[in-house]
Amino acid sequence: MAEQALRSLSQFLPETSLVITFCAAILIGIIFRKRPQIVPVISLLGIALALWFAVRQMGVSQSVFSGMIVVDPFAVFFKVVVGSSAIFILLFSLYSSEVQSTIKRLVEYSSLLVAMTLGMFLMSGAANLLMMVLSVELTSLSSYILAGYTKEAPDSSEASLKYIIYGALSTGLMLYGISIIYGLTGGATDFFGINKALAAGSVSPVALLVASLLIIAGLGFKISAVPFHFWTPDVYEGAPITITAFLSVASKAAGFAMLIRFFKVSFIDSSVIGLPTGFWASLQDFEWNKIVAILSVLTMTLGNLVAVWQNNLKRLLAYSSIAHAGYMLMGVVVLSDKGLAAVMIYFVVYLFMNLGAFYVVMLIESKIGSEDIDSYKGFGYRSPFISVAMVIFFISLAGIPPTAGFIGKLFLFAALLDAKWIWLAVVGALNSVISLYYYVRVIRNMFLRDPEGSPAPVVFSIPQLSILVILLIPTLVFGLYYSPIVELANASLAMFGLP
């Protein structure tokens, strides 16, 4: 037993280093009370270390801690996405006026960010219902606090409160679903056990449907799928923008990792053979993917339609990120490796373009003090470089070549058409046309409208711009040369315990 735990520990290095970083951040914060600025640096190093350990796990496929968590390429991929976005967020924080103006609380901020990252790492690998709930809770609790981080601002507190209430409700629903599954399967909590019990048959389909719906509700909350999205716009608007950006990328990635693993591992029917390469069947003809298809259509359509009416950039990006969750859900619908790989490719691309868009909004906010779309009028003439960068990020989000966003959409649509989900592909394609409208509204204000009065040019520092360039280069390069991300997705498809 002890030996097994030790062996497990050696595959638990990324999480371990995050735990140590978390403790170290708090301790150092207490010791060097006068200089809280060093805590983010410690956190940054800790997360980088965790990321390095995670990358070293590439290719490993085993279950640790008695099947609570698995380490496999699929989990590693999402850990890398989460870890990289955490690093970007900490870099953003250096220039965030919201974070820097409350420098005394930098210790809480950084350590909670590390805790949240830890929760998401665990979510990526969770292979047991209990682990699922625990890791979701760890992530959520840290994010509730961080959403209300600027407690001087009333909307930040409101965001935090809303987040807690919705979060508690959805966790409750998910727990209820889990308890039904527990009963149905005769006491199985790990995904493989559930799969075995379901494969043995004689499970009431109605109960299974109810349980799955409840679990989808819980996970749908994490990835802000409609109709579990109500918290998203308010939280995204109220939270500090760095946290908003983090939630929109990392939290979604972890949620998707968990959703895909739970459904694929629990419901895969390994007795069905003869499907084309990369396709799999669902047990007992339980078509959970149809539920996901409906969610996907609702999510992207509502996200896009509501975004059209937004005048606050943060809120606009919040709805846009809801729409993007809808696009990515399309990849889950098809029950094929093509679909999963498309989701992964989309996440890599989304990481850069969405963080990039949030970063530009943050930089502009730090100079002109507003996230309102009207205050962007003529900004293209006041600060051409970052405005052009914004155009590229937005064009990429709309999925227009030659940017990386197009590649993400291309692979999603390819997966759908290959599985003959034509109507869903058409809905997705039409949605990207709608999305263009609101992205272009911002571009219009930046370039087509003249600035009011004659405001001075806005200048940004070299380090600020270099972070921007780091995000900009992949957004452009992956649009023209996408082999690396496809190879990465290809290498990350394998899940532990599945052929």
């Binding site: 390469t277 990369g278 030659p402 649509f413 058409l417 046309v433």
Partner: protein, 532 residues
């Protein structure tokens, strides 16, 4: 043909990008340097186009064979071997020209070059303007030379953003509305093309040269061979439900660009608001991309459906011709009149295409070229008068022939060419189109000729209102056309005259390709009928 290791088509496509980089590095103050670097870049393009014209082997057909393509460049762009769930992903940088694309390449080079000079007076954010214009140029040229569908699509979409900015920043009073309308309409078409492209990708496989394994491909020529469609794939077979769906998706995508009624509403707005040079490019080149796409992609890849949908196409052609002409007749705004006349004239291209015979198809492609030159002239002419009078109201003028004699001379060439006067290029292509179409669709063709009468009506009426009659006192002091403006108009007028008298200069380029295309589309459908 290579220069410095790159083929001539790569050069002609990417020279504007080099010009764009030059424009971007030139400091803001030296406006002339920016203008001249744009002019030099596009002039190099014209020189390359002339080289292509003289080195083009008129005997080779092209269309569906790589051997028949000229100036071919083929390189592996993306090759991902180890993806079992997707198949090997193989995208090529594949350029080539044949009798269908070469006239468009020549047109693009010429119009882009003239557009730079038509933009000489732009002073607002000149750097951005020239950069966007050159980027647009690369996108347009790329569309006409790409033979890999993925590459084609990237170029196709590359144009959207520059066009949006060019209309939206440098346009007229309602520019924002016109620009976003253009953007949304075209993107809607593009996503439909994208879906059809992916469906084609998953249906077509070719054997890999080295290993012989069958791999999916974006190669357009491979997509034209029915034997490459894998049994059981989405678009395999003939006239299936999915093939109809894919054909219609492609058709709508291209129809928005042409534009075909009822997808045309973006065009008058975009034309009226765009600055002169951009109107010239829109009408001269962008509209051709729609019909080019139909001929390059829809026709040879779905031959049986091209035949099946020939008469609906003839019908929309009729609507385009007559409806466009009637709308043009009702316009007060000079530019809007030309915009609607474009819709009418593009209808003639569609009518020629629907004929499915050599005369009609040659007429159609020749009309694409001629409409490019003639409409470019018309828009330049409107630009000249608008620069001076700052109005485009047709009734506000009168007797301009007296004050601006040189201008009137150039103008009459364009007007008469547009209404199809024998001896000018427009006549030949219209005659061919109608001749071809008459053999296939008698009634529709007879009704379409109504469009010619209407065109003559509104063109002559415009000429009368603006140039003849009592001179309006208000415009008595308008200066006549200047050297720079003449420089943009005269080359086009010469081409219009030359091709009207000796059309073989251009027809020779396209004859063998178009003959081959017609045979291929006709037989392609029936050959596939034999092999289910």
């Amino acid at each position: 043909m290579e220069f410095l290791g790159f083929g001539i088509l790569t050069w002609i496509t990417f020279v504007p990008i080099a010009g764009m980089i030059a424009v971007l590095v030139i400091p803001k103050e030296s406006q002339n340097a920016m203008k001249w670097s744009a002019a030099v870049a596009t002039f190099v393009q014209v020189v390359l186009a002339v080289i292509i014209y003289f080195n083009f082997n008129r005997g080779l057909a092209g269309i569906n064979t790589e051997q028949g393509m000229q100036f071919v460049e083929k390189a592996t762009w993306i090759d991902i071997k180890s993806v079992p769930w997707f198949g090997r992903i193989h995208v090529e940088y594949f350029l080539g020209a044949d009798g269908l694309s070469t006239p468009m390449v020549l047109l693009t080079a010429l119009i882009s070059f003239l557009a730079v000079f038509a933009s000489w007076k732009i002073d607002k954010a000149l750097k951005g303007y020239m950069a966007m214009l050159l980027l647009l140029d690369t996108g347009m040229m790329g569309v006409f030379v790409a033979l890999d569908f993925f590459l084609f699509y990237v170029f196709w979409e590359l144009m959207l953003l520059p066009m949006y900015f060019l209309i939206g920043i440098w346009g007229g009073p309602r520019r924002e509305y016109a620009a976003i309308k253009f953007f949304l309409f075209t993107l809607l078409g593009s996503v439909l093309i994208l879906l059809a492209m992916i469906a084609l990708y998953f249906s077509v496989t070719v054997p890999d040269g080295a290993t012989g394994e069958r791999i999916y491909t974006f190669n357009m020529l491979a997509m034209m061979d029915p034997a490459n469609f894998q049994a059981g794939s989405l678009l395999a077979g003939l006239g299936t439900y999915w093939r109809h769906l894919a054909y219609i998706a492609l058709f709508i995508g291209f129809a928005i660009k042409v534009p075909i009624f009822p997808f045309h509403t973006w065009l008058p707005d975009a034309h009226v608001e765009a600055p002169t040079a951009i109107s010239v490019i829109l009408a001269g080149i962008l509209l051709k991309m729609g019909t080019y796409g139909l001929l390059r992609i829809s026709y040879p890849m779905f031959p049986e459906l091209a035949n099946y949908y020939a008469w609906p196409l003839a019908l929309v052609a009729l609507i385009n011709i007559v409806y466009g002409a009637l709308c043009a007749m009702a316009q007060q705004d000079f530019k809007k009149l030309i915009a609607y006349s474009s819709i009418s004239h593009m209808g003639i291209v569609l009518l020629g295409m629907s004929a499915m015979n050599t005369q009609g198809m040659i007429g159609a492609v020749f009309q694409m070229f001629n409409h490019g030159t003639i409409t470019a002239m018309l828009f330049l002419i409107v630009g000249v008068i608008y620069d001076r009078a700052h109005t485009r109201d047709l009734d506000a003028f009168g007797g301009l022939a007296i004050t601006m004699p040189k201008y009137t001379a150039v103008m009459s060439v364009a007007f008469f060419a547009a209404l199809g006067l024998p001896g000018l290029s427009g006549f030949i292509s219209e005659a061919f189109s109608f001749l071809g179409a008459f053999q296939t669709f008698r009634v529709i063709t007879i009704l379409s000729t109504l469009g010619i009468v209407l065109t003559a009506g509104y063109m002559l009426w415009t000429l009368q209102r603006v140039f003849l009659g009592q001179p309006n006192e208000k415009w008595a002091s308008l200066p006549d056309i200047n050297g720079r403006e003449l420089f943009t108009l005269v080359p086009l007028a010469v081409i219009v005259l030359a091709l009207g008298i000796y059309p073989s200069l251009m027809l020779d380029l396209m004859t063998s390709s178009i003959n081959h295309l017609v045979d291929f589309v006709k037989q392609g459908g029936s050959a596939m009928a034999l092999t289910p």
